[in-house]
Amino acid sequence: MIVRSCRLNLTGFKPVFRRFSSSFFPEEEKAGDGYIKYKEKSVSAPDRRWVVESDHWKEQTRKGFPLEKQETLHENFETSRNEAEWKAVQSLLPLKEIPLPPKHKSYPTPSGWVPPSSTLPDEKYHIRRTRFHQLPVYLESRLGGWHHLTVIRYCDGDLWALEADLRAEINKVKGEEPLTQVDEVCGKVRLKGAFLKEVSDFLISKGF
């Protein structure tokens, strides 16, 4: 048995004929021109009046209004241009720009944030802050969380000098030199091991 694969009954559209079982499209009729016409099915909206007033959770939904009423529900309204209300609307919209951090009396702030130094640090390399004004130091995990890597992103300049400095710093604090990887293309330096505290303290001391 041959039926059309396309469900849309477009006039002038040459259908692709494929083989299907007879139960695939039960309501079919062959027209004189060889095209298959489908009977128009009567569509009825399901009556979802499952709402019970005694159960406080199953409340009345907006679909609970009768169909005739639903069309005229939003015809009657008043427009208001209240400044206080519009201010509330604007406070909900997503931030267009990330604001500059306010000036604090002393640093570090209660949450431990320190701004970058106002003068450029005298180093061969540079590390910029993230868009939220934080240090770009991240923890990566490998082997299902068994191995940890410390990643420093947004590095620029001589990354090998940075890597040497970091190795010396970790050696000073921990007494052991970590394995390192320098990714010059992406501007990343990776250290094997979780040294978030040590690395961020080092970067802050340098003034990044």
């Binding site: 959770w57 209004f65 529900l73 208001s80 609307v89």
Partner: protein, 246 residues
């Protein structure tokens, strides 16, 4: 396979058969860790340290009430209602460094966290939002542009009714007098002096609360926000007003 044996004829007993003794997978009772997992409410963690950092960086204004939409507006963390995220769980990380006086509305909070906020003269309420409202809160701009009216918040579902009606958890459906009692009890338990809210210059802001049916401050359910013409359309149909009434 060998020759002339059980293995060749395929008549071995089934794997796990213990020679007639009840097998261990039947003896040991089931532990259904993941029963109903798809329907469980998830509350992703949000720490006091994160909150303090957001205030330090000027991303949040502590002089105004902080609710879910104020936190999500900054977009510093992911929140997905489609993963059954019913709100944020305020955890105690950074409890020692927290210094801000805030009026906070959160979905889940533990006792020490509540104490940490109230010790500094702040207030905290736990608040339930249903899925329709959460989807609206996550992307208000898109929903305004679609012309969707602000939904009416449903009451909490049966499994969390107890949490949101108890004064210990500072539930939004709890009796305010009982909450005042619990505030002083908690101060005695943790040994701090409870600052007097009535004498606070920020008193009005700290005692600002939403209606249980309301999801945004100053905006009522049923209103349609027109961002293009910068106006708000308020329904006047009596049936609709009756439906949106709290």
């Amino acid at each position: 396979m060998g020759q002339k044996g059980q293995k060749q004829r395929g008549s071995l007993p089934y794997i796990g058969h213990e020679g007639g003794q009840t097998p261990f997978h039947i003896v040991i009772p089931k532990e259904p860790y993941y029963q109903g997992y798809h329907a469980r409410k998830q509350y992703p963690p949000f720490s006091l340290l994160q909150l303090q950092r957001m205030i330090d960086l000027g991303l949040l204004n502590p002089d105004e009430p902080i609710d879910l939409s104020a936190l999500l507006r900054v977009q510093t963390f992911q929140f997905k209602p489609r993963h059954n995220h019913y709100g944020l769980h305020l955890i105690d990380e950074g409890i020692d460094i927290f210094e801000a006086q805030v009026n906070l509305e959160i979905q889940w909070a533990s006792e020490p966290v509540i104490a940490a906020i109230e010790r500094l003269g702040g207030t905290i309420t736990t608040r339930f939002y249903d899925m329709e409202c959460l989807n609206y809160i996550v992307s208000p701009k898109e929903n305004f542009l679609k012309g969707k009216p602000i939904p009416r918040c449903k009451l909490p579902s049966n499994d969390v009714v107890k949490y949101y009606t108890s004064a210990e958890n500072r539930g939004y459906l709890a009796d305010p007098e009982k909450i005042a009692e619990e505030r002083s009890k908690l101060a005695q338990k943790y040994g701090y002096e409870l600052p007097d809210l009535k004498k606070d210059p920020k008193k009005d802001m700290l005692l600002k609360r939403k209606d249980p049916r309301q999801i945004f401050f100053h905006l009522q359910p049923g209103w349609v926000v027109n961002l293009h013409d910068k106006c708000i359309l308020k329904p006047t149909d009596e049936d609709l007003l009756k439906y949106y009434r709290s």
